[in-house]
Symmetry: C2
Subunit: 181 residues, 2 copies
């Protein structure tokens, strides 16, 4: 590739990439919030539902770790999501203290409808690219996601205001499930 004037230099390209990434991330945040509003969910609840959708069923504690919320907050989140019939609590057969949270399959349709227009627009957008180009973009997205995840963990590790100790160390003493047995 050229090294001089009319085409953007590599450095210029990298700068643009960073800026575009920042812009896109902000737009993503806004979209996420708009979806949450439409679903009648608090952004936090929507975020949790999303995590459950992407990562599959998990315990309340795992959800707390993933989100950085306290277990108390998570109890509330699950209560609200369950009331709205987005998720269900299930008993863990291996550990009666645990609660497994699972997305209600039917609720995916409700969410999916909202994303139909978005999905259509994205498919239309993809139409502008060749298979090869899409493969490259896909690769980039996958790797970017991994970068984002690692940076998130880094920020949490050293951060001053993390809400829950680094998994395994508790400040004092947590406490009890709701089931009677």
């Amino acid at each position: 590739m050229s090294v001089s004037s009319d085409l953007p230099s590599r450095a210029e390209l990298l700068r643009e990439m960073l800026w575009a990434g920042r812009q896109m991330s902000t737009s993503t945040i806004m979209l996420h919030q708009a979806v949450a509003d439409r679903l009648g969910l608090h952004p936090t609840d929507h975020k949790c539902a999303d995590l459950l959708h992407i990562n599959g069923p998990m315990t309340a504690g795992e959800l707390a770790d993933l989100t950085g919320l306290t277990t108390g907050a998570i109890t509330g989140v699950i209560d609200r999501l369950e009331a709205a019939d987005f998720v269900r609590r299930e008993d863990d057969p291996d550990d009666r203290r645990r609660v497994i949270v699972r997305v209600v399959p039917k609720s995916l349709h409700r969410v999916g409808r909202l994303f139909q227009s978005l999905a259509a627009a994205m498919v239309e957008l993809c139409g502008h690219y060749t298979d090869r180009e899409l493969a490259t973009i896909l690769d980039f997205m996958t790797r970017s996601r991994e970068v984002a995840r690692q940076e998130t963990m880094k920020l949490r590790q050293t951060g001053p205001s993390r809400k829950r100790e680094a998994s395994g160390v508790r400040r004092r003493r947590p406490a009890g499930p709701r089931r009677v047995g």
Copy 2:
């Protein structure tokens, strides 16, 4: 390109794109929250600061429209951001009712430091691609952002729980600035 077995079909590619987009958007949300925590900001405040950084200075009302928050909430957001020295309120010389919110340039360094590691990781990631590929990816990101913005507006228009009337129609009567004159 192949049409049969070993390489992913176009349809498969599109499905993967949608899924990757969803995954990335969720990771983005998590990252954004982690950054906000590190800055000691509420996610909403961080979002607003981000919008101001990306779109430049704007009035409190414009910020309310962009975020979908009420003007009352925005007052609080600006108060907190101003107290943390991230933004400053300025008088609009053309309309004494208005308040222009501007990012404090110095605060960008504070935020920038947090993003250094991320930026480095992204630059490293970009190293895997040719200029041509990066240009394609950049193009895709730019267009995706536009799609996201339009979908966000669509969702807001028809949504049941929008918090502020569609700019120009108010339920009753808002009210007064803090300046004395």
